[in-house]
Symmetry: C2
Subunit: 235 residues, 2 copies
């Protein structure tokens, strides 16, 4: 927790918060902070700043808050991600949030198991919890927007053109001829398939709608490795 995310309901006055639960535990056990010290804080979807500890006990942490500056710039990319195994997805959502992606489409493809859609990890509450963990890691405050898309074909046919407008759309594809470019400095859309990849029909359809297939060489990477790897190249 490199930044403590604050919510509107934490505020008891304009500049004063009272925290309990997970954040209090963390401050006690990891930061090992004391009254008079300051901690890095950020208001969800707002500015970041510092919190001066005015009270700290095992039941409650009170801070006087000063919000000073804007959160880091978002990554200029939206991610289209085939739904991974739920346990892996939780970690990936944290990672993607930490990297600064602000729009994430979680989609069904042929090789995505139907059972994944019943996982509690896709509940609004869990999505939010995992994104908060990513924000805390990266010292960001802006919650990404997640959309769950359970039908591939109408998503591509009816919506994708509008979604990728004004971006360069890439699809990660291990057997593509073209290598992923570096330091692109432009908005992108990045599509990443499931373990096992997109099927040919899906790749063909994405290409038809303008996606550029790019590879990383001979090595097949896990989705959770491929995402930071491709964003390392692009930005």
């Amino acid at each position: 927790m490199n930044l403590i995310i604050l919510f509107e309901q934490d505020f008891t006055q304009d500049d004063t918060v009272k925290l309990e639960g997970r954040r209090l535990e963390h401050v006690l056990s990891v930061h090992k902070a004391e009254v008079g010290q300051t901690l890095k804080v950020g208001l969800l979807n707002g500015k970041i700043g510092i919190g001066l500890i005015t009270h700290l006990s095992k039941d409650m942490l009170c801070m006087k808050i000063e919000l000073l500056k804007e959160p880091p710039k978002p990554l200029e990319s939206q991610l289209i991600l085939a739904m991974p195994r739920p346990k892996v997805f939780a970690r990936i959502l944290q990672t993607v949030t930490a990297l600064g992606v602000k729009k994430i489409f979680v989609i069904k493809t042929w090789r995505v198991q139907k059972s994944y859609w019943n996982s509690p990890v896709l509940s609004e509450e869990k999505l939010r919890d995992n994104m908060i963990l990513g924000l805390e890691q990266a010292k960001d405050t802006i919650l990404p927007e997640v959309r769950i898309v359970k039908l591939f074909k109408p998503f591509v046919e009816d919506e994708i053109s509008e979604i990728i407008k004004d971006t360069i759309p890439f699809v990660a594809h291990p057997i593509a001829d073209k290598q992923c470019p570096y330091n692109i400095n432009k908005p992108t859309t990045v599509a990443i398939g499931p373990e096992g990849g997109f099927i040919e029909y899906e790749i063909d359809m994405l290409i038809k709608y303008g996606f550029i297939p790019v590879s990383f060489g001979d090595r097949i990477l896990k989705v959770e490795t491929a995402i930071p790897y491709i964003y390392g190249k692009l930005y």
Copy 2:
């Protein structure tokens, strides 16, 4: 398992292997293969090729092996990694192996908990198991070399100059002025600190011995995200 790694002891004849256990399970449950089909195989530290299934039952998989070509090129980088939490380390070792790093120094720094060194994840057997998983993922066969270094100061003072010779040595450091370069196309050494980072004394010492501190911007990334991110940029 995108490639089945074979060991010398799997061979019953020059070109025939008999497999049981984990690899057999995987072929039955994930590949759902049948007699007459071929699977991608690779001999540990040797060539990759195909295995023609000649027998498959719940007790045994037999294949006729043809080894055809060299494994993918290694990544021209050695990694110096502060020991992470053991559970995370297992995953990171798989990732680093999949990325193609062939030399890994796992080191003690100030912020590494002493208890980590007692973890079974650092046993030769577990190190090897996790690296094999990485090789299977990336369709590689060359096992990396791992060295465990429990004292930071003598490692830097007595050995680091020789280790980084003929490489460009970088240390990931969130507050560095210089951004990590792209597509460097030269051998590198990359040093990554623990969660919480290197302490100032450690960074200063690495700089003194020639390391270039580089950052990724304002965001603090987890070690497991930072590694593919930096290698995405460098190669």
